[in-house]
């Protein structure tokens, strides 16, 4: 009876002491700031900063390898908290938002019938997608499924809609969209052209009822706050004035491709 008790207790004691000793030898010094920064970060491990996760970013920030404002999803509140921990100043960064620059979806015509994998990435491999418009949204919602913040939904026309309050401009949808029609833009610039088609008016009219035809009505009405280049209109906020007639421009656009959030 005594031998088993003794052996087991001895083994346990030995291993315990061994581990305690080893943990002393192999201790790794960690900056306590890193731990606090990790807690300040959102902890979604979304990878928007380009690091492996929040922990790696926290390490990079504390070591001065990354900016305090590297975490786009965190926003101002997180920057302030990190700055407080590190005792540094935050440069104010403008809030950005992902914008879907197409409004066609179901309304624009198809080139062929597609019955393969229901992913934009899949259909885009076949002649650039099943839409006649070579610029348009394919409508399978790869951006919806990749969004780590659940900010994108498909509307009734199969066009993704970004929820501005949930979007953190992490840029994952921008990267995943095979047609590159999602663009990060300044969230204050509420009015934008919901089309990226550089096709001529005749072509656009034949394949999509809501594409920009480059008619320049917006350019004239807004006195330069819209510029038409390559048959495509674009809002130019550097030229915008306080009395720019935004509402009139939106209403006068013949294909209604100028949108307000």
């Amino acid at each position: 009876m005594l031998i088993p008790i003794l052996t087991m207790s001895l083994m346990g004691l030995l291993f315990g002491l061994g581990l305690a000793y080893a943990s002393n030898i192999f201790r790794v010094e960690i900056d306590p700031k890193i731990d606090r920064v990790i807690h300040a970060l959102p902890g979604a491990n979304c990878g928007a900063c380009g690091m492996a996760g929040c922990a790696s970013l926290a390490e990079a920030i504390v070591n001065g390898k990354s900016e305090i404002t590297s975490c786009a999803p965190g926003g101002q509140e997180v920057y302030n908290r990190i700055a407080e921990i590190l005792g540094a100043e935050v440069k104010v960064k403008k809030k950005k938002i992902a914008r879907i620059r197409c409004n066609g979806g179901k309304r624009s015509s198809d080139k062929y019938e597609y019955s393969g994998l229901k992913k934009c990435a899949g259909v885009s491999l076949l002649a650039g997608g099943n839409k006649e418009c070579r610029f348009g949204c394919l409508g399978f919602g790869d951006c919806v499924s990749i969004c780590p913040f659940d900010a994108i939904r498909l509307n009734e026309n199969n066009i993704p809609v970004v929820n501005g309050s949930k979007c953190t401009a992490c840029g994952k949808c921008v990267k995943t969209c095979p047609k590159k029609i999602i663009i990060l833009e300044n969230a204050d610039h509420k009015i934008y052209v919901k089309c990226l088609s550089q096709d001529k008016a005749v072509v656009v009219k034949s394949i999509c009822p809501v594409g920009c035809i480059g008619c320049k009505i917006c350019e004239k009405l807004s006195v330069g706050a819209f510029i038409v280049e390559n048959n495509l209109s674009k809002a130019d906020y550097t030229k915008a004035k306080s009395d720019t007639p935004w509402q009139a421009v939106i209403e006068k656009c013949p294909t209604k491709c100028i949108a307000r959030e």
Binding site: I3, P4, T7, M8, G18, S23, R27, V28, G122
Partner: protein, 202 residues
């Protein structure tokens, strides 16, 4: 100690008595970390490393401590003790000497501490090779070999499963079967396929 014995241990550990699909050990990590191929492979490598080392250490503990003291019946608890301490130690050492390796393997090591496959291989070894009659060198080599091959079998199945699950991501699985349920069904089908290897028993 002849070649056929080695061969039967290798094939037995990898295919016939595959720990995941035939012995149903290590299932939590099998379902938990098989969503993507890369982590699955890293987990497999970590498990292989630990099973090999655990086989060697438990062999030493069994033969040099338990047998002389005539307390073989305390096998399980002493193996748990040894394996848990060993994994902790490995984690510390890796963390100290290779941050890069720690980042890839480190997160899996705590999972291995409580992985039944590791204890399973130690117990299996003690049942198969620690008996009197086999000479010391043979039982040591076979134990270490079996530990290593069990790890290989684990990697094999993890790669199968993660490959299938990666493709499954793109499939239209009914909502009620998404993620874990469909994985269990796949696991059972794979397990049935592995039952075919039992016919090779020699």
């Amino acid at each position: 100690m002849d070649l056929s014995m080695f061969l039967s241990v290798i094939i037995g550990a990898i295919f016939i008595n595959n720990f995941i699909l035939s012995k149903f050990l290590g299932l939590c990590s099998f379902i938990g970390i098989s969503k993507e191929t890369k982590p699955a492979l890293y987990m497999g490598v970590s498990v292989t490393f630990v099973t090999t080392c655990a086989s060697i250490i438990t062999w030493a503990i069994y033969n040099f401590i338990l047998v002389p003291c005539h307390i073989e019946y305390l096998r399980t608890i002493s193996f748990i003790l040894v394996i848990a301490s060993f994994v902790q130690l490995v984690e510390m050492v890796i963390k100290k000497f290779s941050q890069a390796l720690y980042r890839t393997l480190g997160i899996y090591l705590p999972l291995i501490t409580v992985n039944c496959a590791v204890l399973g291989v130690a117990v299996l070894n003690s049942e198969m090779f620690f008996k009197p009659g086999l000479n010391t060198l043979t039982s040591f080599t076979l134990s270490a070999l079996q530990g290593f091959c069990v790890g290989l079998g684990y990697i094999l199945v993890m790669l199968f499963m993660s490959g299938i699950r990666e493709r499954l991501e793109l499939c239209d699985v009914p909502k009620s079967f998404k993620d874990a349920p469909i994985s269990f069904i796949i696991a059972s089908l794979m397990s049935m396929a592995f039952m075919g290897f039992s016919g090779f028993r020699f």
